[in-house]
């Protein structure tokens, strides 16, 4: 548990968008999936997820709607919008360019 990596500024948006690519999810789900998929390395500060979700909703990249969760409780589900999908593609590309560049530097030295 102590080998967690803090999230880089701005990467939370990317992770949220990526997570929602597989389908709609509510806030807690998103936090869980990020933790599980990153094999517990990335920790999302659970509270800070919500301002990010609201911000992304405001930008129109994700949309929210209330629905029923597993045991029929009301929960707010977020899903990717068309704009969000494009944004995800763009951000993924720039992230990959960035990591490639960093990797090259690390290898060359």
């Amino acid at each position: 548990m102590d080998k967690k990596t803090d999230l880089l500024q701005g990467t939370l948006d990317l992770l949220v968008l990526k997570t929602l690519q597989t389908g709609p999810a509510h806030g807690w789900d998103i936090a869980q999936r990020i933790r599980q998929v990153s094999q517990e390395v990335l920790s999302v500060n659970q509270g800070s997820l919500y301002p990010a979700l609201h911000r992304l909703e405001g930008q129109g990249w994700i949309a929210a709607e209330w629905g029923a969760s597993d045991n029929n409780r009301r929960a707010k589900f977020y899903k990717l919008t068309a704009v969000g999908r494009r944004q995800l593609a763009a951000e993924t590309e720039s992230w990959e360019r960035f990591t490639r560049a960093v990797a090259l530097i690390l290898q060359s030295s």
Binding site: Q46, G47, Y50, P51, H54, G58
Partner: protein
Amino acid sequence: MMKALTRRLRALLRRGEMENELDEELRFHIEKETEQNVRRGMTPAEARRAALVEFGGVESIKEECRDVRGVRLLDDLLQDLRYALRVLTKSPAFTLVAVLSLALGVGVNASVFGFVNAVLLKPLPLPRHEELVRIQDDNLPAYSDYLAFSERARGFRGLAAYDFDSYPLRAGGPPARAAVTLVSANYFDVLEVRPALGRGFAAEEGTQPGAASVAVISHGLWRDRFGADPSVVGKTFTLRRVPFTVIGVAPPEFTGVSLGQRQDLWVPFAAEGLLRPEENRLKHPDSYQAHVIGRLAPGVTLAEVQAAVEVVAAQQDQVQKVRLFTDNPGEQPATPRTVTRATAVEMGPRDRQMSWFGVAGVLIVVGLVLLAACANVANLLLGRAAARRREIAVRLALGASRGRIVRQLLTESLLLSLAGAAGGLLLSRWAGDLLLSLMKQNSPAEASSVTLDLSLDWRMLLYATLLAVLTGVAFGLVPALQASRPDVVTDLKAETAAAAGGARRRRLTFRNALVVTQVAISALLLVPAGLLLRSVRLAETSGYGFPVAERYVAAVDLEALGYDDKRRRLVGEQLLDKVRETPGVRSATMAHIVPLVGGTMVVTLEVEGEAPGQQAEDVFEENGSSFYALDQPGSLYMNTVDTRYFETMGLPLVAGRDFDERDDASAPDVVVVNETLARRLAKGGQALGRRLVERDPTNWKPKPLEVVGVVKDSKYIWPSERPRYFAYRPRRQYTQSGFGPAHLIVHAAGDQATVSKLVRSVASTVDPDLSVEGVTRLDELIEHRVGETKLVIWVSAAVGALALLLAAVGLYGVMAYSVAGRTKEIGVRMALGAGRGRVRRMILADGLVLAAAGTLVGLLVSAACMRLMRSMLYGVSDTDPLTYAAVALFLTGVALLACYVPARRATKVDPMVALRYE
């Protein structure tokens, strides 16, 4: 953008709902996390605590979410507003003084802007006025330009032209001069004005003089001259003896498209062929001008028509250059034509520019009053900020950011300034109407029919709001920044005298500076009012140099008759003879100018036998200082008069003779001079027989004028003027055209009504078309002239008094605050034996130092600025010591009054209470 806006709006309107949703969303998360923790084997209580810890501070996260949603700012604003309202209503005295100060300051500015708006900005009150444009050059385009534009310039739905003239009118009642507007036939169509009765002009009426004897009359003329006859269409009347048929009556609200210009009736341009067959614009379209107004075609911009007009104008310039070079090589090259949006008051580009300069000057003056008001409110706010330091310190300690506090305080000051602006707008409506009615009372009857539209419009509202925001920030920012300086600790502790002393002294210095500025502004505004007042007082107490009792003046319009020079002269002589023969008339004469009533004629002073440039001698001594005897060195004021002028005006001849019937165009040219000029000409010898030189205005040829008489000095232009050179020339030695109406001056026993009736009946026997207007007592005319200046005085004095009132309130505020802060010190002084008188003197001295500093600054600035006013002052120097001393004394008196109350309060300090105070 729109989406974001609707989201925000929704967020604001459905705040409760969104809050609930946010709660629910976060609660759901924590419950899920708790469930998972329980599944991992924790006890429910442990699980919940772990979930909460993992989540972080719920409230701060909610706040972040709200921030993201963007309701924070609006939310805060509402909260600030509510708080500000509560704070302001809690101290009504402060609020009242602040709002009143601002209302006065904004009111003065809004009043001025109301006039600017009406004169320079308001559009024509016509349908779809935004499409109406004027084509202007430095002066006015030639009539031929108009014809070319209307034929070739694209982008106009229609292009109309008009020009003003005046002709003697006969239509029921006595003969009178009618303000005639000559128009193109499409005039009413382009303006989209439907006559209230009848029709507008048909196309052929605009071009065929034979068809052009038709007129549309104004609603006013219809009422006054045709008794509001509903079947007036088809009736006839005459202009300069030419019969015209009424074809329409303009609607009552239509007064032409040049606000301020009287317009009695409209006739087609072609009618000029009937009214002036010898010379008119149909014959010489290049030498006559026309006002051009057009309506843009749909979708066409100003820039597009400007380009189109420039193309045509360039072609016109070429054509005209060829034409003009052949007969008048000295003609100025044509100036660029500009297309501008048509405003209600017609004004050339250059006049408009000059007006804006004037407006800028006046706005600076009234801006100073607003500045004084702002200084006042800033002062009050600073005083309050000091008192509120603890409240603010508590809020800072509880975690409010400094920006938040500043925002809160600015909200308060903006609220104050908006309330002030609203009050100011109300005041300006009232002041504008008052000023307009005063202006009408003090202007000649003809101009008083003109009304300015001062009603409130969006421009006024925008201007007042802008002023409010500007002033709100201007006077609110410094106090807000000072009050929110986060030295929390010192302020949370009971404010000890030692800790706060430094800050208070600093604040006080700033406040002192504000008060000094205020006093200086009042001085700067009161000095010109004082100088003008002195000028008028002198005018009223000084004699005119001639008697005014039983003298009557009437304007006689000989030119309007349309006769040639010879016949015109004959009619004038007949009129004069018949008036002189009338019983009750002692004497009568005609003159171009009536002294002290306005109007001047100035020529270059040239003395035969003297080289030009000897004007240095035209200096004389008065009370030890030297003055020019002239307003401008080398110039000579003069008047052309008929025989027996000096007798009628009661001006005794000192030497030589009066003009007589033989002094006509065929006789040697003669001149009568006043004593001051005679002294200058005589130089120890005789003035009689010396010669002045007059230049022919067309070819500059010299013409000697022999001095045949010397007449007593009198006042000519302004009652308190210094002696000036003056010369009289016989009317009979000039052609009578181009001078405008002459003045008949009658010395007769009887009241105005009698003399008026008498003169009119005599005139009608001489020629039934001869119009004699406004028979008025001479002293009444002179008083009118002084009255105009009086209006300026009262307005500027009122503005100055306003500034002084604001300064007095400011001074009072500072002194009261200083006394309150020095309670302990005063207590100690009194305990040590200082008497009440001594304490009072101490406080008064403090206040007077401020007032004296302000007065000194104000007077010095005045002395530097008042030279701008020189042309308005007669008999008073722009650095008149008496006026400056009076203003200083007055300011000191008001300052003493303002300081007296705080000083008295200081003497009421009980030493025991004061010493126990902290």
